[in-house]
Symmetry: D2
Subunit: 456 residues, 4 copies
């Protein structure tokens, strides 16, 4: 394993990164992107021998449980923000192993996997195409580049063009793994492509989202001022990829399978890394009730119970998704039970805003009308702030809790988590679709037919 410093050193490689309209020379030195890079370094614990446990290939339910716990733990260190530098990349590597098994490119996947593991690399995964008009497939778009595609096949490799959105952490990883976003029709072979390239590859342009810009008050935003993840529009402007880094080219059936297999692993990652956030809601709700002096009200108890049930249902289903692991015969790789994984993810996602509302309810309106760090630091104002914001606990403690609640449930970071709950790692509708598809209806319909007297 590399040390945080070794990791950061690796990011200074001339990569093309744009932030707020300007080219960034060194992401580790940029005032905002450096926060993301330092957050990313939480996934590095070296220098030490032996690979990072994130790279362990899961072969059993226990392996999946360990992996889930590892993700939960690293996100706790990330203060509810997933670190994701190895989590998502290994999800993709596991999926690539399974989907390419039996094909010519399996060896390339294995080699790339060893390269990443042995180098303790940080990986981004670019999956979601920009898609254009969503009612049309890749081949139906006005512009064929709206899904990443192969524009040229050469002796030494392929050339790709297009762009992916929502690629997390791209500015501060070593390599980006690119996989298809959806099932494809037979005549959409040029879009059936999966590969990996170093971020600094010519033609790879990262246009960063500055959505989390402005979290500059560490007192008022205890989480988002210190932790950041940056998404990019990841442009592939006629990027050359050598054959040893091409994992899929033209196999439309495997393209769809790869998209789903990745998601299978990635939704377990998702529910694992949501646990610190939902736990924080429970703890924060309880502490806010105490700080406000309202713990004895019936409705307060009711809201806390709801938050507990929410957090613990997500945790229970996440654990069970691991425990019900299945093993892919060909590769021996374990994967979480799809139905249970999607139940966990849907349970998390559909009630997320309800959880936010309850924490907001317990906290009070000060979440958005309170004072900032400069007021707290001001010698003229501090006496008033301390006097008038005391609750059942001193103002310093109450405001610390309110600031955390504002950061998690009201400010931009809250909106970030809310939108992620609805869309990241699959939308609500996608989760419902997978629940429907991964359920075997035969026992239930047989039971109903028997009860109706239609079967003996």
């Amino acid at each position: 394993m590399r040390s945080p410093e070794q990791y950061l050193e690796g990011l200074r490689d001339g990569r093309e990164v744009w932030y707020r309209g300007e080219r960034v020379d060194d992401v580790t030195a940029h005032p905002e992107l450096a926060i993301a890079a330092r957050h990313g370094s939480l996934d590095f614990h070296g220098p030490s021998d032996g690979p990072s446990p994130f790279y362990d290939l899961p072969r059993s339910a226990d392996d999946l449980r360990r992996r889930s716990a590892l993700i939960e733990e690293s996100t706790t260190r990330g203060a509810t923000l997933v670190v994701l530098l190895k989590e998502i990349g290994t999800d993709a590597l596991f999926a690539l192993h399974r989907v390419t098994h039996g094909t010519d490119t399996y060896g390339r996947v294995e080699a790339f996997y060893r390269h990443c593991r042995d180098g303790d690399l940080a990986l981004a995964v670019a999956q979601t195409d920009v898609k254009g008009n969503r009612s049309l497939g890749p081949a139906g778009q006005a512009d064929p580049d709206l899904y990443v595609r192969v524009t040229e096949r050469r002796d030494d490799g392929i050339v790709v063009r297009g762009a992916k959105v929502h690629t997390s952490c791209t500015p501060n990883v070593d390599e980006v793994v690119v996989i298809p976003t959806r099932a494809l029709a037979e005549d959409e072979r040029d879009w059936a492509v999966a590969f990996a390239v170093p971020v600094a590859t010519p033609g790879v342009k990262l246009i960063c989202s500055d959505y989390l810009h402005g979290a500059d008050d560490a007192w008022a935003m205890p989480v988002s001022s210190r932790h950041k993840m940056v998404e990019t529009l990841t442009v592939f402007d006629d990027v050359f990829v050598p054959w040893e880094r091409v994992f899929l080219d033209g196999d439309t059936e495997r393209a769809g399978r790869l998209a789903l297999t990745f998601v299978e692993y990635h939704r377990l990652t998702a529910v694992s890394y949501k646990l610190p956030l939902v736990d924080a809601f429970v703890g924060l709700g309880a502490l806010l009730a105490e700080a406000n002096g309202i713990t004895r009200a019936g409705h307060v108890r009711d809201k806390l119970t709801w938050l507990i049930a929410y957090a613990e249902s997500v945790r229970a289903l996440t654990h069970l998704a691991c425990d019900r692991a299945r093993v892919d015969e060909a590769t021996g790789l374990a994967y979480p039970d799809p139905l249970t994984t999607n139940l966990a993810k849907w349970t998390f996602a559909r009630d997320y805003y309800g959880a936010v509302e309850r924490v907001v309810d317990l906290a009070g309106g000060l979440l958005v009308t309170g004072v900032g760090g400069a007021d707290w630091e001001s010698p003229e104002l501090r006496p008033y702030v301390e006097k008038y914001f005391a609750g059942a606990v001193p103002a310093a403690e109450r405001l610390a809790l309110l600031n955390l609640a504002s950061d998690l449930c009201a400010r931009s970071y809250a909106g970030y988590q809310g939108v992620l709950a609805v869309h990241a790692e699959g939308s609500l509708e996608a989760e419902k679709l997978m629940i429907y598809r991964s359920y075997d209806p035969r026992p239930a319909t047989l039971l109903a037919r028997r009860l109706a007297g239609l079967e003996s």
Copy 2:
């Protein structure tokens, strides 16, 4: 294990049973109570050596899983209606073992347990007192008998008076186990009583509910015409109980603990026996959609997915409640994780009416405007019924499904299941209270304090 016939034979013992205002001589010969008795006989598989597996004392997670599966299976045979002749009684016996351990009466519990197991007895459990004004405890009631109490302590035993409600299956079991309904104050020693008596004991009067009376059309009510469970107001009219059958007398602390410990086991029983019902909703929903020719509508898919997620969430939490078993050190008895058990039960209960609504939605209005068995049998009417009630499948099949849906989701049996979902084995509020109490808030509050900067 006894045979069904041996079991039925045992019920002819002069017990005092009242149904619709009349004394019943022989419950196995009564037109309605016999249906309940035959339903109860589904728990008997002998004659054979060896005790019924319901009596196995659980000592591990695996034991609890086996027990849960056994309950699910017997309820499937009961066509969604729990059989309950050994399920609930053993819940009480396990709880009695744990709570009396270390006291003088532990030996009596063991002896009674062996008596039941070796005789393969059917047991009812009478827990819920009639309670009078619920804002008052036993000692505060205008009438002290509104909670079952000891009115006399003699050399050879005690005399009890009072009544329990909601006692299931009492008319067709061998013995009734009586336990307290709630925590008691120190001055409420006379109400801190637990014991067991044969149903035919003098002074025990069973006033049956006839709520499910009238299910006489086997075509229209495929479940409730064939399966029945009868609840009683179980009156103890100065009933004498010999000391060897008295398990608790005057220990108010243990009384409360016994009430909760029983419920701990019994809620796992409850969620286990709800699984065939929620599965039937899923299967029925799918078959009805097919029969009506509406499977391709988006809202239909959405409702089916919701039903699947509902049923499988309850199942997942039930399984995990077993897997997370804890073991009582003193007795070595395993019990399901209280938090997970209550999550399972609450998940089942809070969405039950929502599940009913969705099946009703998929079925159509014919649930309550359709024809009856006599119409189906009528040579004049059959041609019209067959012609006009055909859907995407023949009328015979569609009507069989609609009749099942009407029985499960609209008729009296549906209301029975609905009220049970809200109240049986603990109300919604009781489940929420146990979720709140069985949750350890320290990790979550510590996390929140750390995130807020209040802990290093």
Copy 3:
């Protein structure tokens, strides 16, 4: 206006009615159908001069409010069960006026309207075709009779064949009005038919649903033992209809319009007649809480508040649907605002089961485990029943409330109301569709475009 007796006399006319497989000679003398007939007679207040106010043609918001209040009041007399003998028929007559205006048959509609009004007739409306496979239209069905259709056009009239389901009150009305169930394609002219016939017309066969059979315990079922509405499969077995009773024949465009126009009026009728039921939930909830001694619990207050908000939201939207009346220019007839009417109906329907659950929660498990009228009447049992079912009020009062709750929220009548909430007068999906369609999106999209800077 006719007297109840005059109305009942009119039902003895040889009509072909079948109940539980048997032909019924006289519906006013049949033990069960007579209950429905007597319930129907609540719409008759004569003998007196002047027509029934139900027949008043609405010309203003005030007229619609009066009509809504009239329906609410008659349903209150019906003990939460709508009487419906003039309510639904006039809905159809108003719609027929509007849709046939400007066509040759308008005069027939006017004449039929005067016939009904002046004779103070009771009318059923048969709209819902049996439909067969719902994914197909009338012309696509294996059997063309699955939607009522014209099989012959003669000099003196037409011959129709087919069947309608869910026709309410048919056995005890004078005439049945038949209208199309849905929009039709241009090649479906034979199904574009609307007409009226006396119930006793040859070929009209009424196969009654016996769904509400068995409500024979007046103590335990205070509502359903005294009030009944009967639905029929209404078969038209080559029924001849003279031209003066044919209101639509072959006009597919007007057929769809008639279906919708009727529903526009009928949904206002529906929400008007639901008000006594939802009010009863509120009152019953409050009285049950009191009887059980739980009024001071926070969750009880919360449930009562929810029930109040539910009932009053439905009432508010119903009133406003009238107040926002629109007037059809051609005929001068007023009709309720479609958007508001559908909002009212949807608000009622989508939360109905949630309301039931809350009343059940406040009532307790006795709803389905309590005793019956025979037990209450039994001199041996009464002392126990009185002693042990007392709450914070005497047993007689508490049980009266519990019996009402059981009737409204658990027994067959409860299921009847539940299924009606989901399906009658348009399903949940149909209501949502009409909300979507009757909403003018232009102001909202213009506002959003302005806020987005896309419009100046």
Copy 4:
């Protein structure tokens, strides 16, 4: 009426305003507070004769409707952010008229009202005390100043000390009206105080919330970069108030009544000014679906319908709250029906987060991963942004909609609106309490008793 410029000129008066730890000399010149001041100027339409219509005393349902429409319209100009400079102040003035009628201070209220109306003043209302430990009343707090109180009564007036939170717009109004926050006990006379002072009064210190700081990208935040409302901790540091400005002093009964009467008006104001926001959700949802090319999906239609029903239910109940106006006999002042007003507010508040979730769902993840204004303006990046963010409409249009959605549903302004939905103008629990209290249960309980046979 004054002109916007006249209004702004009036704010340069030496008031003590603190923002981000620094004293602000001139709020109309400060880079952020000036945005709030300019937003406030939307309530000024002069110079012209005649008072602002906001000052019209409502005397009928029509007056309330006009007032509601006026508020809706001014908020539309405010781009979903209420302007509030006259809205809330007149709510307080109406309440003061009603509550002081018949007392000595009524003349002072009238004089102050004329002063404000004739001067076309902007008013803030400071109601919510800081409250300390919420389980205790004013007299029970460790610090008596945690509710604003009279510390001295002099010949010429009173001296007050304490602080209010959540006071909106204080930095840019002319006068602040102070009223009690809750019912008081008899021994809490010193806290029973209502008065008004110019903002620039010595001892009045405004410590501003900078919660909405950072909205500096007009392209990415089309609403919040241009519109702002600022809340203050409003400190009264031994402020002298002359008697003619003291409206209540020591009358604890009227103190509670004033708190509630103000809220009665203010909740109507609240639901009136929420209408543009909920309309924007509907319009935005529809436009986003179109821009993304997903309008034909069933779930999209379902979400749009839900949003329509939500917006139109709030509007309907708001209108009806006016239409059902009641008139205070003593003053002739009309006020909205309390039950209906609270139904409207609760309907708005309880489903607000559900509405946000649906818009987020229709928009997509780009809400929080998209690019900013500097990227859009960059000549190097624009081609990529235009190419890859096109949907079913060009990127410029799609991104304008996404930016609006991000501002309304994800960024800090979204959180501001979310927290306001839960807490402002009364929390969810407060609204439920008022629904419960303003409902007359007698008709419903009488109906239920009749149905139960307990009344003849």
